[in-house]
C-alpha cells in the first residue's frame, strides 16, 4: 500500500515536472526541473533495501532496532545540493535570456534568433 502511494506520487510529480519543462514560459520550465529533482530524490529513497523505523545510526543497531537504509540517504544528500546548483544555473540562464532578449518566452526568443 505504501509502495503504491509512493510510486503514484513519484509518477505524478515526474509527469508534472515534464509538463512544466515543456512550457514556453522559461521560469515555469525551470520550475519543472525542480519538480523532476524532487521526484528523482523520492525515487532513490524508495529503492532503499531497509525499512526500519529508526534512523541509521550504529547505536540504534546496537540496541537491536531496525534502521532505515543509509545508502540511499547518502545518495540523496549530495543530490539535493547538486540539484540546487543546477537549478541556480538554470535560473541564471533564464535571467540572462530575459536581459538579452527582453523576453522570457522561449518561442518568442526563438523567433528573435532565427
Amino acid at each position: 500500500m505504501e509502495d503504491l502511494a509512493m510510486a503514484a506520487a513519484i509518477g505524478t510529480l515526474f509527469g508534472m515536472g515534464v509538463f512544466q519543462m515543456l512550457r514556453r514560459d522559461l521560469v515555469k520550465a525551470a520550475m519543472g526541473f525542480a519538480l523532476l529533482f524532487n521526484a528523482v530524490n523520492l525515487f532513490i529513497l524508495s529503492t532503499g533495501a531497509y525499512r526500519g523505523a529508526s534512523a541509521p545510526y550504529t547505536t540504534n543497531l546496537a540496541d537491536g532496532k531496525a534502521t532505515s537504509d543509509p545508502l540511499v540517504q547518502a545518495l540523496i544528500l549530495t543530490a539535493i545540493v547538486v540539484s540546487f546548483g543546477s537549478y541556480a544555473l538554470l535560473l541564471a540562464m533564464v535571467n540572462l535570456v530575459s536581459r538579452r532578449f527582453n523576453r522570457i518566452d522561449s518561442d518568442e526568443v526563438k523567433e528573435l534568433i532565427n
Binding site: F19, P56, Y57, T78, V81
Partner: protein, 1019 residues
Amino acid sequence: MDLALIQTIPFVLAFLYAIPPLRAALPLPVRTWVATAIMAILVVALLGYYPYIEAAALSQGSVVRVIEWVPQLSLSLTFYLDGLSLLFGLVITGIGAGITLYTGYYFADDPQEGDRFMMWLLAFAGAMLGVVLAGNLITMFILWELTSITSFMLIGFKGGKYADARFGALQAFLLTSVGALALIVGIVMFGSVAGSLTNGGGFVFELDTLLNLDAAAIAKHELYALIVVLVALGAFTKSAQFPFHFWLPGAMSAPTPASAYLHSATMVKAGVYLLARLYPPLHLSDLWVSLLVSVGVLTMLIGAVFALTKRDLKGLLAYSTVSALGSMVALIGLPNYEGMKAAMVTIMAHALYKAALFLSVGTIEHNTGSRNVDELGGLRQYMPRLTGVVAVSVLSMAGLFPFFGFVAKETLLDGFLKWKDPNGTLVLAVIAVAATLTVAAGLMVFWDVFIKPAPRAIHYHDAPVWLDATPILLAVGSFAFSVAVGFGVIFQPFLQTIVPKTFELKLLPPDGFANTAFQISTAALLLGAAAFALRHAWLPALAQLERLPVSGSALFKAFVAGLDKIGDVALRLQSGQIRYYLIVIFIAASLMIWGYGAVENPLSFFGFALKDPPTFETWVRTFMLVLACAAAFFSIIQKNHLFAALTLGVTGYSIGVIFLLEPAPDVAVVQFLVETLTTILIILILGRISQKQREDASNRLWKGYLQKRTGFPIGVLRDVAIAGMVGTAVFFFTLAAMTTRTTTTEVVDCAQGFVPAAIQIPIENDETGSIVIPRSLSIAAYHLCNTKNQLGVTDVVGAIVADYRAMDTLLEIVVFAVAALGVLTMLSRGLSITNPLAPRQNRVAILQEEWDKKELAEIKDATDLATPFTKLVARIVLALGFLVAASHIVTGGDAPGDGFTAGAFLGLAVSLWYVVYGYREALNRLRILRPYYLLMAGLALGTLNALLPLLWGQNMLSFVNYGAWIGVDGLLKEVGLKFTTTLVFEVSIFLTVFGGFMLVTETIAHPKAADMEDSPLKA
C-alpha cells in the same frame, strides 16, 4: 638513448612551443637553434642504434622496447626498431632538424605565426616518428591519424585568410581519413588472422610477432585479399597514389616548410613505409604484385605528365613527388628483392633532393613574392647559393651521374629489369617515359627560373643567410651519399631491412654501357633534355590537360556537396528548439519502459505493492505525498510566478517531511534548508526580471504553440499527453524497482559477515527460467555493520558521504562549485553584449538599448527589507549559523547534520543578510567572507585530504586517523572529538557548499550586477 625518450622529445618540444611564456623564455633565433639542436641530437641518438642493426641485419635484427601497461590484458606500449624504421627515423629527424632551422628563419618576420607553425610541425615530427617506431599496429594507426590531424593544421595554416588553404586541408584530411578507415579495418582483420595463426584465436598486433608469420599461410587465408586491398587503400590515400593523388597538389597551400617536410620527405611516405613494413607477411601473392605495380606505375606516369602542366613551382614539385611516390610503391610491389632495395635507395635520394627543391622554392617565394615559372627568371644573379643547390638537386632528380639520384634510378631500373613478367616491357616503357618527363620538368625548374632572363622586373629582397643552410646541406647530401657509395658504403641495414639478403650497391654499373639500366637512363636523360629544348612546341598542348572536364578535385567537391545535401535533410529534423528534443527523449524513454511493461505485465506489481496493510504512518506519509502533488499541481496552473514558486516550496517541504518519516534526519535537514534557499533564490531571480516580461509570459501560458494556426491549445493537450505517458511509465518503473526486490524491516544481522554485495550476488534460475537476483544483499548492510569499528563514528549516512563514497562526494562538491561559478559567469560576464555567442549582434544590441532605457528603471532592489528588527534577526541567525555549523561538523559523526547541513545553514543565514541589508551593505559587512576563497579552500582541502593517505601507504581517500598520528587521539577523545580524514572531509564539504551557496546568493542578489561600474562581479 631509449626509444621511448626519442619518441617523446618532439612532443615535449611542441608542447613548449605551444605555451607562450615557455617559448618566450628564449629569444627567437636561440629557440630555433635549440630546437634544431635537439632534433639533431635525435639523429645522433638513432644513429647510435646503427651498428647494432647492421651487425644483426642478416638475421633481421631489431630492437624491441616494451613498456608494460596492463600486462594481464597484454596491453603495452611497444617500440620496434629495425633497418626500415631506422631509415625512416633518420629521414624524419634529419630532415626535421633542417626544416626546424629553416622554419625559424622563414617566419622571422612574424614570430608569432612562426611559433604556432613550429608547434604543429614538431607535433607532426613526433607523430611521424611514432608511426615508424611503433611496435604495435594499433599504436601505429593512432599516430598515423595524428599525422593526418597535424597535416590538416599545417595545410590549413593560412586558412584564416585563404579559402583554398581551408579546402586543401579538408580535402587532404578527408581523403586520408577515408583511407585510414579502410586501413583500420584491414589492421583488425590482419590482427585476427594473425591471432588465429599463432594463438589459435584472439588478436595479435605486435610487430615482432606479425613480421615472423608464415607468409604462405596468410596468403591462403580467405581474408587475405580483403586485407591487402584495405591496407593498400590506406597506404595509397596517404601516399597520394592514383586515383587519390590530387590531394597532394591541393595541399600545396601549406607554408613551404610544411610542404617540404610533410608532403615530400616524410608523411606522404608513411604509406610507402606501411607497405614495406607489412611486406614480409603480406607480399606472397599475385594480387600484391599486380595491385602495387599497376597503381604505382600509373601514378608515376600521371605525376610526371601533370608536373609539366603546372606553372606554379610548388604544384610542379608536388606532382613530381606524386610520381616519385608511385615509383616507390611499384618497387615494393615487385616480387624480386631488388625492388625493395631500390625502394629504400629511392626514399633516401628523394628525401634529399625534393626537400632541397621545396625549400629553395620557399626561399624564392619569400624573396620575390612569386613562385610562378612564368613570372620568374634569371635568379642566379640574386641567389648564387640557391642556384647551386637547385642545380644539384634537379640533376639528382633527373638521375645524372654522380648524384645520388643516379644511383636511385639505376637500382630502380635494375629492379624492373629483373622482373620477369609478360607485362614487364610495357611497364619498363612507361617508366622510361616518366623518367624522360621528370628530366624535362627538372630542367624547367632550373633553367626557366635561374638562367633564362626574367620576363619582367623582379622585386627582390634578401632573406636571412641561415635560410640557405638547410637546402645547401641537403644538396651536399645528394652528392655525399653517392661519394659514400663510391667508397663502398652501402647502407647495408637499410637495403636488406625487410628481406634477409645481402645486396650490393655500386656507384657505376660494372659493365658500363653494356648495362641495360644505364642505357635506358642515359636515353631518358638525352630525350628529356631534348624535350625540354623543344618545350615551346608541345607544352601548350599538354597544358590543355589542366582543363580536363573531370578532375579528382572536382569529383571530390561534388561528393562533398552531395554529403552536404544529405546533411541538410538530417538538419531539418534538428529544429534547434530544446522542447522538441525533450519531447523525443521523453517519448523514447517512456516507450522503452512501456515496452518492458508489455513483456512483464505491469499489473503483477500491484500484488506486491498492496501486500503491506496500511498503518498510521502510511496515512501520514500518503497525506504528505498528496500534499506534495497538490502543491505541485497548483504551481503549474498558477499564473503568477511568485505564487507558483511558493507553492513549489510546499512540495519541497512535504518531501522533507517524507524524509523525516523515513527516518532520514540528515537528508530532511538538508532538504528543508535547501528548499528555503531555493525559494529565496527564485524570488530574487524574479526580482531581476521585469514585471512586463513576466506578465507577458504568464498571459501566454495556456496559449499553445500551434494556436496561431489552429486556434486551439493543441500544444497544451499534447504536453498533457506526453506528461501522462512519462508519468505512468515512471510510476510502473518505480513499482517494478520497489517490488522486484526484497525489502526487509528486519534488524541487520552483522554476524553474517558482509562482503560487498555486488560481487557476491548469486544468480539463480527459478522454474520459469528467468534470472532472480536476491537484492537483500545490499551493501548498506555492510555500511551499517562496519561504520563504528572502521571509522569510529555512529552516523552511517555521514560515514558513507565522507568516507565510503568519498570520491562521489568530492566530485559532487566540485560540480556544485562549478555550477556556482557558472551562475556568476553568466550573470556578470554573460550579460555583456560582447559575448561571442550572442546571436544577431545588431538586433540584440537594439534590444539591449531598449532594456537600458525602460526596463532597468522598473527594477527595484527587491532585497532591501532593512528594519532594526530584521537586522537584529539577521545578525543573530548568522551568529547562530556559525555555532550550528561548527556543531554539525564536529558532532556530525554521531548526530544528525554534517558538512552539507552546516554549509546550507550558513548559506541561508548569509542570504538572509542580503535580503535584509540589501546587496551593498551586506557585501560590505561580510567583506571577510569571500565565497571564492571559501570555494578554493574547500576544494583544495578536499583534494589534499584525498591525497594525504598516500603518505601512509594507503590508497587515495582511505581512512586515516590524523589524531592518532599526531598523538593527540586520547586527548581529543576526552572531549569527544576525533581528528580523522572524515572530519577534514566534512570541513571541506562545508566550505565548498557554503561558498557555493554564498556565491549564488551574492551574484543573484545583485540587482544590476552587470551595470555597476564598481561591481566586484566585473573583476
